[in-house]
């Protein structure tokens, strides 16, 4: 630790003194003359005997609340001032003058500074050895909007925002259970980011909350800018492309995760909330499944499973068949493929990689560009790739179809971050099947499968309930069974019973 650091720590550890000028000097030393630090002088009860200073950060603190504080201190303080000789205590001021929801005396400089930088106002008065910290947090927040990365047709339209309190409120509004807990933490030596861990006391698996806390406490980092930081520092398989922590922008998804016995991690300044433990199959499940009729939900879930398989293996299978296993293609299809490839100068593998990369480029470019230009990119890109490249004899029309179907399938996966993982897996599969044929494809595919089976998420097998096989959890894995059949919570939850038996609705008898 440098000497500057040591000096700073020493200054922070000091207590406030009755001398106002000394306190102000101490604050100025620590905060410097930062442009956004405001100091407003006032006279308590209008009396020059008790000068005081309000310290706050412009922009973080709500000006109207500060006005109310000043009004109380300056005008309504006359009750306290009956005996001019008697010094009012910090407690007196707090209990009689402060009409704010939250105000507390604070003796340490460290606490005062922490309050100021998080938007509170520190009130210093001559003659008091304690300062008063008044909650005046009130910066502009983004309105509640529909999450952009997780769209649903039926379902609530509200999404998380950057404010952690708004986000926890979203969940509290949905679960009015007194046993819903939010445990607070602060991570990041410099960013001092607020973290809340949410769980329902009697549903969550025993030990899970402690484990989450243990991992969070283990984080020693200067900054947490987004939930991705936390995700990367607490996950079980840090080297795996699979994400073993689920992230979502939807409050209904978090609520359902909590009700299934999971733990949610809220991080300030990000609309993305993490839920653990995470299972592979969750990436295929969308909230829509549960809001629509179960036939519809099951059908579209199976469509998504198909999309998962296609987006993972279709290009590899095409490349494998066309370069090694020609006998496996029906004759007429083989002829069509051959005629399309007649003038293509590259091997199929190279063609596939070229086109895949072109699509990834277009996707990335469309994403990074300003919105109106982003659309132009995709139009130009699809025109060039789809039409001109085929006409020029660079790629075969079949390859365009294969890659297009693959890309569209990958967009059908509800979880954005896991669809990215699948995109990445596509390339080793593609190369192995282009170099070694079916054997290479099988090898890499099984290596992937073994890897997915071997990893865990907070002590639970990633591929559960498929492996280890849990019969009662199957009702919500491949198919979405009717709600009245899913009367049990997932097996890892503490309290299993979700609803009463025999909930299947029926018309009254004899009607």
């Amino acid at each position: 630790m440098s000497t500057a650091q040591e000096k700073l720590q020493a200054q922070l550890d000091a207590s406030f003194t009755p001398q106002l000028s000394g306190n102000i000097a101490a604050l100025d030393q620590i905060l410097g003359k930062s442009a956004d630090m405001q100091q407003r002088d006032f006279k308590l009860c209008g009396s020059s005997e008790f000068p005081g200073v309000c310290c706050f950060v412009d922009g973080l603190a709500d000006a109207s609340i500060i006005e109310a504080i000043l009004k109380a201190l300056v005008i309504f303080g006359s009750d306290l001032h009956r005996d001019p000789a008697a010094m009012p205590t910090a407690d007196d001021i707090q209990t009689t003058l402060m009409v704010n929801a939250s105000a507390k005396p604070c003796g340490k400089v460290r606490d005062g500074i922490a309050g100021i930088v998080s938007g509170d106002t520190l009130v210093l008065i001559e003659g008091l050895d304690q300062a008063i910290l008044v909650s005046t947090k009130g910066w502009k927040d983004r309105g509640i909007e529909e999450p952009s990365s997780e769209n649903n047709v039926r379902g609530p339209r509200d999404g998380f925002t950057e404010s952690i309190r708004t986000n926890t409120a979203h969940v509290r509004r949905r679960i009015k259970d007194p046993l819903l807990r939010f445990d607070a933490m602060v991570i990041g030596t410099r960013t001092q980011t607020d973290i809340n861990i949410a769980y329902i006391q009697d549903i969550v698996k025993e030990g899970l909350v402690d484990e989450v806390k243990r991992r969070l406490k283990g984080i020693k980092i200067d900054a947490i800018l987004e939930s991705g930081y936390i995700e990367e520092l607490i996950e079980d398989a840090p080297l795996s492309p699979f994400n073993t922590v689920q992230s979502t922008e939807r409050p209904d998804k978090v609520a359902s995760a909590l009700l299934e016995g999971r733990v949610a991690i809220f991080i300030d300044n990000t609309p993305v909330v993490l839920t653990v433990p995470t299972f592979f199959w969750q990436f295929i499940q969308a909230p829509d499944d549960y809001y629509n009729r179960y036939w519809v939900g099951s059908f579209f879930r199976s469509v998504r499973y198909l999309a998962l398989i296609i987006s993972l293996v279709l290009p590899s299978i095409y490349v494998m068949l066309v370069s090694f296993h020609h006998e496996m293609i029906p004759t007429s299809l083989a002829l069509t493929i051959a005629s399309g490839r007649e003038v293509v100068p590259f091997p199929v593998l190279l063609e596939a990689i070229m086109l895949e990369i072109a699509f990834e480029l277009m996707r990335e470019a469309g994403l990074r560009m300003p919105k109106p230009i982003g659309q132009a990119v995709s139009i130009v890109g699809s025109l060039i790739i789809g039409q001109a490249a085929v006409q020029a004899g660079l790629v075969s029309p079949f390859m365009v179809i294969v890659v297009a179907i693959t890309e569209i399938s990958s967009f059908a996966i509800p979880s954005y971050s896991s669809s990215l993982a699948l995109r990445i897996f596509r390339f080793p599969l593609l190369i192995a099947s282009g170099v070694f044929g079916l054997l290479g494809f099988a090898t890499v595919f099984f290596a992937l499968l073994l890897h997915a089976l071997s990893i865990r998420s907070f002590g639970e097998s990633f591929m559960a309930p498929a492996s280890p096989f849990r019969p009662s959890d199957q009702r919500d894995m491949l198919l979405r069974m009717p709600l009245w059949m899913q009367n049990q919570r997932p097996e890892f939850a503490q309290d299993q019973q979700r609803m009463g038996e025999q909930q299947m609705p029926r018309p009254p008898k004899g009607g």
Binding site: H326, T331, S339
Partner: protein, 395 residues
Amino acid sequence: MKRAVGLLITLIMLLTQTSCLGLRQINELAIVTAVGLDLGDKPGTIRVSAQIIRPADARGQTGAPSGGTGQPIYSIVSDGTSIFDAIRNLGRISSRRVYWAHNFFIIMSEDYARKGIKDMVDFFTRNHELRMNTWVAVTPNIPDEVISTITGLEVVPGEAVNRLFQNNHVVGRAPASDMMNLEEAFLSSSTEPVLARVQLMPRGISNLKPEEHGSLKQVELGGAAAFLGDKMVGWLNVKEARGLLFFLENLASGIEVVNCPDGDEVMSVEFRRAHLKVTPAYENQEPKFRIRLTTEADIVESGCSFSLGEGVRREAEEKLEKQLKSNIDSVIDKAQHRYRSDFMKLGDVFRNRFPEEWRVLKRDWNQTFSDAQIDVEVNASIKSGVVKAVGTDIR
């Protein structure tokens, strides 16, 4: 870490040992869809002809233009001392690697078949690239001509022949013989091979010169070639082939034309749900077969100038029975007395029923079979005679 590296090296070595590195792009292959076998000009040589697809012309040009000639196929022929030699010699002509896995059809000339097909069965079953569901046929024409004959409906002639064979059960005039059942009959001691007969007939009508009345040659499937051992012994005509099909493929339906009860007019009868049952017997050291064909039938076309009453129906039944019996009799007669070859799988039936006796008889089965007594019985019942007869109402 050490383990991971070891595993990786093992995997790479395993993969490269499988010779999977033989990468070939699909457009670098000469896809053969039909192959012809004939005797070469020089004695002791074999002539192989192959129908190769030109994908760009067979499927239309997708994408950039490639030099097309407008012809969907490219047929080449080469000679060699053995089949494989001849095939390797094809490589001297073909610019692309000849690829056999999509072959639909193997056709042999009559001369070749009469000399023996042992080599051919051996080669086509031994080679891993060739499929076992390839159709096999014998032609009295020159195979080169048959495989290079363009049919009007399909772009790829091989595909046309493939469809001919696939839809064969509707017509029921030739056995659908593929490599699988050829090999099965060839290896079996209790039965002899029989292959379909394919010939070129001037049946196609040219759109440009319709007045030439069917001048274009087309491939026709009908009849069969009977074998004894690996040598072809003779032809079966379409009538005999119909009889044969009851034995080989349990032909269930077909059309027979029979005379009207009282005159020269004819009516068409469609038999349905035909079922042939062969019952072997062994009496006095002699095998005996009782063949019983039961079928239902409909009158589907009637040129008869009277209404179809109950008596007429009975009479039509008898005529149909007679006709079907004559089909079966004719093929049995040919098999027993002309070719002395049991290609109707009667030996199979006998062996299954009398395995002990078979051990004795199998040595000289074809002779025994030729002398065996075979009784044929046909039982037809016309269920409905609903047709519009001339001058009467619908009955």
